[in-house]
């Protein structure tokens, strides 16, 4: 088989990330591995058209990249007269398929290591796991390319200097470290989901990248919470076309045109959720996804099984206590029981230091007061909420609610 430039492009897209993940392990250095990947593909472009494409292109690329990297190390160590530098020897390296498969997972856990800042983890994951360029990461996150580059350089320096291992955590620490990875994937998703309103910024879809990462993780690490996160992302993403009106204004779940929800994605999301629920213990993302599923399965807002949603929030608040979840639970209670019950729960929360200045608390109070027909009190609460948010879409939403009173 002759290698054409287009074939090489396709191979680059499918293999470059995996080859790099393996070369980071074999060479023990991010930068060196990046150069080695480029060298390996350059060698392929030269040799394959003449000698034909090898039977296992990925193995060829890894082996070639490895030798390029070793040569680099030799040259550098001679240049710096560092004869003591230990070279990884080929005999002791694992080139087998199982080890190579795990390299993606090693890379993901390294990029999401909690000793790196959240910003650095996000940039590093998009750059290394999703293969985005620094410019693409910058435009997707709406920050300057130089800022992204600096975050990545610092993160790589810390990985090297603090000896963050290139490893999947041991099974006893895995349950503790998995949430860090899930958090980053969910963050990538939310960055994409919440910014998709902006002027169709770039053709980089962070929601797509997050779903791809989630799927890859689910294949490598089939755990309930990974499935739960996939379900949550799919069930949320299914509502993307209904969450804004033609003017780009936010539309509440209750007011959304449910005909715009993507049923195929809802079905896939529910399948993931069923896999997640079959495994115990049921965790944070699985519970959130279960709530999203209740909404997704209600053909009309008034068919929503609020009793079930309240039970799910009870479970969430028990295991993952947070003021925001307590707020959401109060709203669910109001929908299930009565606005008055919800309001009394919200009153208790109003004194919480983290919530008293949270616009959604006041917006929720306003909404329940409106449902009770107490327009004046609702107006005051909406006004209060308005002073507490700086986000334009939220402000416009609150103003439109005020106008409806």
């Amino acid at each position: 088989m002759r290698a054409h430039p287009s074939l090489l492009d396709a191979l680059y897209r499918t293999h470059a990330r995996r080859v790099q993940a393996t070369l980071i392990r074999l060479l023990g250095d991010f930068e060196l591995a990046e150069e080695a990947v480029q060298d390996a593909f350059a060698a392929a472009a030269q040799q394959w058209p003449v000698k034909g494409t090898p039977d296992n292109p990925q193995a060829w690329l890894i082996r070639t990249g490895y030798h390029c990297g070793i040569n680099q190390i030799r040259q550098r160590s001679t240049a710096r007269r560092r004869a003591h530098l230990l070279l990884p020897s080929e005999e002791t390296q694992e080139f087998d398929d199982a080890a190579i498969q795990d390299d993606s997972l090693r890379l993901l856990f390294t990029c999401c290591h909690p000793s790196l800042s959240l910003e650095a983890r996000l940039a590093l994951t998009l750059r290394e796991m999703c293969g985005l360029t620094t410019e693409q990461v910058a435009s997707a996150l709406l920050i300057k390319p130089s800022t992204v580059a600096q975050r990545i350089v610092r993160a790589k320096r810390k990985i090297r200097d603090a000896h963050i291992p290139y490893a999947v955590p041991a099974s006893e620490t895995l349950p503790q470290r998995l949430p860090d990875v899930l958090q980053i994937i969910y963050l990538v998703f939310n960055e994409g989901y919440s910014s998709s309103s902006g002027a169709a910024v770039v053709d980089i879809s962070l929601t797509r990248e997050a779903l791809r990462l989630g799927e890859e993780l689910a294949a490598l690490l089939p755990q309930g919470e990974v499935f739960g996160l996939m379900a949550l992302m799919l069930l949320t993403n299914a509502r993307r076309d209904a969450r804004q009106d033609n003017q780009g204004e936010l539309v509440t779940l209750e007011a959304q045109d449910r005909g715009l929800w993507h049923q195929a994605e809802i079905c896939t999301g529910i399948e993931w959720l069923e896999h997640a629920l079959a495994l115990t213990p049921v965790g944070f993302y699985t519970l959130q996804a279960s709530i999203a599923a209740v909404h997704a399965q209600a053909l009309r807002p008034e068919h929503t099984d609020w009793a079930r949603i309240v039970r799910l929030y009870d479970a969430l608040c028990r295991s993952y206590p947070s003021p925001v979840l307590t707020l959401n639970r109060a709203v669910a209670v109001a929908m299930h029981d009565s606005p008055a019950t919800g309001l009394s729960l919200l009153d208790e929360l109003a004194h919480h230091p983290q919530l008293s200045r949270y616009y959604l608390l006041h917006a929720a109070q306003a909404d329940l007061l409106r449902r009770q027909g107490k327009s004046d009190a609702a107006r005051d609460a909406y006004q209060k909420a308005l002073t507490l948010t700086t986000q334009d879409p939220e402000k416009r939403f609150l103003i439109s609610k005020l106008a409806e009173l």
Binding site: H113, P114, S115, L116, S117, A120, R154, R157, K158, D161, A162, H163, I164, P165, A167, P169, A170, T173, Q176
Partner: protein, 125 residues
Amino acid sequence: MKYAALVYYQEQLINAMSEQAWHDLNQECIAGVERLSAQGNYLAGEALQSIDTATTVRVRNGETVITDGPFAETKEQLAGFYLLEARDLNEALQLASRIPPARLGSIEVRPIRELPPKTQPGESS
């Protein structure tokens, strides 16, 4: 009596130093340790890498919380230190999480820095 002498400085001062000044400071420290050892006053000591390499471990409600950077609570006072041998940062963090005061305050984990080799008089850096 045994005493711990804890070294503090602003890293900016070090970052602004010339290569030569940094080299001289390191050599001065090496000579200082030799003098203390000869006098019988030196028990142990290590230089640390920059705060960029720091990670903080806390244990709250039985759960280990790992954050990037040095300890942030200026209300907390230094109470002691452990010198740990660990395979990598993951193991170091796991060991640190079992230090009992991790439940009360925070444990900052930072790799030590190897001092450069001692240079002979007349040898350049």
